[in-house]
Symmetry: C2
Subunit: 338 residues, 2 copies
């Protein structure tokens, strides 16, 4: 009786209004919190975070987690098979990044779990940033800015000439929502566009190259904005860089491991390619120090997605996916699981 009473008492205490709300299981590593409590409305969703202090000390919370149908993965927090084993009721993983290489997509497919990503929330900003990196490498904005700030202009005279963007042959690797926006922007600068992707896209006016090697051979610039998968890991290797040639420029806003970074560093240090604009690296936040002294390289700290507007757009798309899932409507930004 006493035990039963205590149980009832406990149930009464935790039976708050949020108990009836749709349950969102949060998945994150400590550094990716995205301040979710500030923008996910606690009036609409019951948020359950295994990293919350109360979680491990509350057996009912752990039982509840096992009944969760939806998992919200914050940022690029790695989501392993092991984690999914612990939450057998998960039907949908809502992601909050453009790339999903931190998820095991084929495992999700096997389990019948649907997955969403950031959709178009970041696409404009990443496309803008890609153009910014390319312009910076060609026109030496950052490097000449350093030159001015070092006081060199009055002492050493004119900074060397840059290279014109207009007329350049641009090879886009991955013509998705980001790549197609990069194409629109660069056409306005008078560039010619060609692309590589898994399949030729219907209704796209640009020349398609079935392999990246041929695209590189025919391009002045390669812009890498495809997904990182087993197939695309180190896709930009020694052969591709050789095909791109001594004047060629690489811009990477996808993932660091799309490029064989050690080779890229060697090519840049030896001057075997013309330059690079890099926002992503194989071992972030570590950036190869050999690049720090090079003026034909622009190094940004994974900031292509990072604007206030993009963050707000991400919040919108995440909430829209949660709403859609819990009302049995089509998800807003589902990912094709091949």
């Amino acid at each position: 009786m006493a035990a039963s009473k205590a149980g009832q008492h406990h149930q009464h205490e935790t039976n708050t209004p949020s108990d009836n709300l749709p349950l969102v299981l949060i998945h994150r590593i400590p550094q990716f919190d995205l301040s979710y409590k500030s923008w996910l409305p606690a009036t609409k969703f019951r948020l359950l975070d295994p990293l919350d202090q109360s979680f491990s000390s509350t057996p009912s919370a752990q039982t509840l987690a096992q009944s969760a149908r939806l998992l919200l993965c914050l940022g690029p927090s790695p989501l392993t098979q092991h984690t999914l084993d612990r939450y057998p009721s998960i039907e949908c993983v809502v992601g909050s990044s453009a790339g999903l290489d931190h998820l095991d997509l084929s495992d999700c497919r096997r389990r019948g779990i649907t997955v969403t990503n950031a959709g178009d929330a970041f696409s404009d900003d990443v496309a803008d940033f890609s153009v910014a990196l390319l312009l910076d490498v060609l026109r030496r904005v950052s490097a000449s800015n350093r030159y001015v700030r070092a006081g060199s202009w009055p002492v050493k005279g004119d900074y060397p000439l840059g290279s014109k963007l207009g007329g350049k042959q641009i090879g886009i690797v991955g013509l998705g929502s980001i790549g197609s926006r990069i194409a629109t922007r660069l056409e306005a600068f008078g560039c010619s566009i060609a692309y590589n992707s898994r399949k030729k896209k219907p209704h796209v006016p640009f020349p398609y190259y079935e392999n990246v090697h041929d695209l590189a051979t025919n391009s002045d610039v390669l812009i890498i904005c495809c997904a990182l998968t087993n197939e695309t890991h180190h896709m930009i290797n020694k052969d591709i860089m050789t095909a791109l040639g001594k004047e060629g420029v690489i811009v990477n806003v996808g993932r660091g491991a799309l490029i064989d970074e050690k080779e890229l560093v060697q090519f840049l240090v030896r001057g075997d390619i013309g330059g690079a604009g890099l926002d992503v690296y194989e071992n972030e936040p570590v950036v190869p120090r050999e690049l720090f002294g090079l003026d034909n390289v622009v190094l940004s700290p994974h900031r292509a997605v990072a604007t206030t507007d993009a963050i707000l757009a991400l919040h919108k798309v995440v909430i829209a996916n949660l709403d859609a899932f819990f009302s049995n409507k089509p998800l807003v930004s589902p990912v094709e699981l091949e």
Copy 2:
């Protein structure tokens, strides 16, 4: 007889094939030579340069200069009334820069001298560079590049968010061949364009503001790309910067003195405007040192025109103007002298 013979002998010696070629009087200050001897064909033009050592020691060269009908002004070499007084036969001044604030245009008009500028040779490159500066200020490319190179990323964590370019209200001051190209590019990024110029342009779809103050009030960004004249000197003053507001960004690819530089520095240091991308300064190559520590400022050393392609395009337009003048055809890039 002996004197006459000597005279004949002298005439014979200097009567080279080039004597019959059209005479081009070079005007330059020592630092602006533009390597003209490497690209002006000596087989087509007789080049007379008062800075050549032989010039001052050859009385016939000085006499010849007075008969020159065309003067080629290299770079922004100041061309004063005093210089033109010395060359009374000049009918045409061929310029080799986009801006002509180093010439006294009203004096040229009074003398009936026609003037040409660089035409469209630089327009694409200056437009590209303006977009590069704007993207850099908004998305913090140079600043985050410094952050990476300083080794701060692994130590201090994520670099702060930037601001989205798309959706920004852009005010273009001077919708000429450069300004209109900036508009085309920024429309592809999803920006809204408005402009100020001396007169409303026919067939231009963008809102026109008769004064810069109203344009600034209604803009997130001001891009300055008009000519420097008595009327536009310090056009961007305290009032305009106040109207632009605390989040506003200024990009200047025109001339330094279009902006009251001392005020601009104060506004930036106090945080009373949001940022600036500056390619030109009032007292080049001197750049105000107060700006060197600011991360919301991008400082390039007058490089908006500086690509190999633009230089080749300039050579073409200069030679085309020379050809046109000497064959009595319409000049390729005449400047309207109001």
